[in-house]
């Protein structure tokens, strides 16, 4: 099963994690919300799949391009 990483599009911090390992995601589902520049930026799983691993914790600082979630398609 091929896995892909969802990368952060922004520099900021992890505001809220809504997905859990093992969870099935439909295309476009939100897996977590980042805070950046005082905005709540949703991280979407464009293609859907199964959450394999969450790579960050709530409150963590994240950089642009940093892997956030492993998803199996």
């Amino acid at each position: 099963m091929p896995t892909t990483q969802l990368l952060s599009e922004v520099t900021g911090s992890v505001w809220e994690i809504s997905a859990q390992p093992g969870q099935q995601l439909a295309p476009g589902d939100t897996v977590m919300v980042l805070e950046s520049m005082k905005m709540e930026i949703p991280v979407l799983c464009e293609d859907g799949g199964t959450v394999v691993e969450i790579l960050v914790a709530q409150g963590d600082a994240v950089a642009e391009g940093q892997p956030l979630v492993m998803v199996a398609s």
Partner: protein, 536 residues
């Protein structure tokens, strides 16, 4: 053909008719040209997933529309006086049509010496040459299908001397950027001159997996810096398109690349002396989209899909995004409004909350110049809290690149329409308006503006008052609430500080009407746009 009375002609004519030998030689020479670098080289090229230059031109141009120029150029191989072969010049070019409109088109033939031209071959094109003269003289777009690795040190031996840089220069290439649309597609590995040529374009594209672009490839990099890096890491789309913005867009394969070129050219006039072509006008300007009313969340911390906003406003299926993966805090899109070509520049609240960073500024600057040069009106969809701030942003020269974008916007003479969707703050906000023109600013009820956002400004402006208060936090919130009440967009409209506030569903209609009205004025200001001054 009538028989000539000249007995000499009659004597030379074979049974096949007059000039049969010469026409036969022409056919043989053409066959050599069509053989490119030979069957083995062509097979190797195909095995790498690449089309030959002739296949590329056929795939891009309208069927049967290519009139080749210079098909016989090359190095003839003779046995005595008898021609036994020709190594064709590794550059194929001529006049063709794309969607019924003429273009000058050319590209390197990688199957001959890796696309490296010699001496007389260079007159055809690649850097300057006939193909660029054709675009200049006839004022028609130029399409470069680049597949060459540039110069080779072996030329020193052949010539007996080394060449001074610029012997095949970029003078014409630079001139064309103010005259006709120039598209450069990197179809293979482009280094050196061909890589530089790719940059001298209005729009550039490369192909995933099979094309790379860099000033110099991995062997030179390793020799110069000791850096070991793959071709893909150094000049694949992840670097050249998404990270560096050296090339604008990436195509999944060569076929898609040609579709994208056709699509890009469909928005362009033939040259700067003409207006862009009117497209289909079947999508009614009065089409209203309920979704626009709901798309901006009332919670100011929640972003929304700005690309969706563009798609809802523009003519159905009419958008073409330039640089979608670079400088993502701003979205730049060619599109149509009731058939008129327009350029959308929209802040993207999903990235940096829409704050302009150095890459977004660079992208916006280029897009403004592109649209201004080809008389394409600009529509700003504004949601910008300002320039990006912080140590990294300052180190990257956000302020300078941001102000360069503002400067180029103020030099533009094409009509600019500003639709303020949410935030419009500071210098970046000012840069979204038509200060030198009508300065028509249309706001949605969700709009807010100022010289800086209230939340950032209160702490600085009321520092002493806040510090002296028994509960500083509460005092700060109180001041903020007071200011925000006065920051209603309707109060600015009372003062005609913003020209109109509209229901978001009315956006398409009002823009279509003003864009249509501005077309007549643009017809009177056609031609090149020479610009004086020094960009900051």
């Amino acid at each position: 053909m009538s028989e000539g009375a000249d007995s000499g002609t009659r004597d030379n004519a074979s049974e096949a008719g007059p000039w049969a030998d010469a026409l036969d030689e022409l056919a043989r020479r053409r066959a050599f040209a069509h053989g490119l670098g030979g069957a083995a080289a062509v097979e190797k090229h195909h095995a790498q997933g690449r089309l030959t230059i002739r296949e590329r031109i056929d795939a891009l141009a309208d069927a049967g529309s290519f009139s080749e120029v210079g098909s016989l150029t090359g190095q003839g191989l003779y046995e005595g006086d008898r021609l036994v072969g020709v190594t064709p010049a590794p550059y194929v070019m001529g006049l063709a049509q794309v969607d019924g409109r003429p273009v000058a088109i050319g590209g390197e033939d990688f199957t001959v010496r890796g696309g490296t031209s010699w001496s007389g071959d260079r007159k055809k094109g690649g850097q300057g040459g006939f193909v660029e003269d054709l675009a200049h003289q006839y004022r028609i777009p130029l399409v470069n299908l680049i597949d060459g690795a540039g110069g080779s040190v072996t030329s020193i031996t052949r010539r007996g001397h080394s060449v001074f840089p610029g012997v095949h220069g970029f003078e014409r290439s630079v001139q064309l950027l103010g005259e006709v649309p120039v598209v450069c597609a990197v179809m293979g590995t482009a280094a050196g001159g061909p890589a530089g040529r790719a940059i001298l374009s209005h729009w550039s594209v490369m192909v995933k997996d099979t094309s790379h672009v860099f000033a110099a490839g991995p062997p030179v990099v390793e020799r110069s810096l000791g850096q070991k890096i793959t071709k893909e890491e150094l000049g694949g789309p992840a670097m050249a398109v998404a990270t560096a913005g050296t090339i604008d867009n990436v195509a999944a394969d060569e076929r898609q690349c040609f579709e994208m070129i056709r699509r890009y050219l469909s928005y362009m006039p033939r040259n700067v002396w003409e207006l862009p072509p009117l497209g289909e006008r079947s999508d009614p300007p009065a089409r209203t989209e309920e979704e626009l009313r709901r798309i901006v969340p009332e919670n100011r911390r929640r972003p929304y899909d700005m690309r969706r906003v563009i798609r809802l406003i523009a003519d159905t299926e009419s958008t073409f995004e330039i640089q979608p993966t670079f400088g993502k805090a701003v979205i730049t899109c060619l599109a149509r409004m009731h058939g008129h070509v327009v350029g959308f520049i929209a802040n993207n609240p999903m990235v940096n909350g829409g704050a302009m960073d150095v890459k977004a500024a660079r992208k916006q600057t280029h897009f403004i110049e592109l649209c201004d040069t080809f008389h394409i009106p600009l529509v700003f969809l504004v949601d910008v809290p300002g320039f990006l701030v912080g140590r990294e942003a300052e180190a990257a020269a956000t302020l300078r690149e941001g102000m360069r974008s503002v400067y180029v916007g103020l030099q533009a003479t094409v009509p600019i329409f500003s639709v303020v969707i949410r935030k419009c703050y500071g210098m970046a906000g000012m840069g979204t308006t038509d200060k030198n023109g009508l300065d028509l600013k249309i706001a949605w009820p969700s709009a807010e503006w100022g010289s800086l956002p209230i939340e950032g400004g209160v702490a600085a402006a009321f520092r002493r008052e806040i510090e002296a208060a028994p509960d500083p936090k509460a005092r700060e919130a109180e001041i903020e609430a007071g200011l925000r009440a006065n920051a209603s967009p309707f109060r600015t409209a009372e003062a005609f500080g913003v020209e109109e506030i509209i229901d978001p569903r009315e956006t398409r209609l009002i823009l279509c009407r003003f864009i249509e009205a501005a077309r007549g004025r643009m017809q009177t200001t056609l031609g090149p746009k020479p610009k004086a001054g020094v960009r900051p």
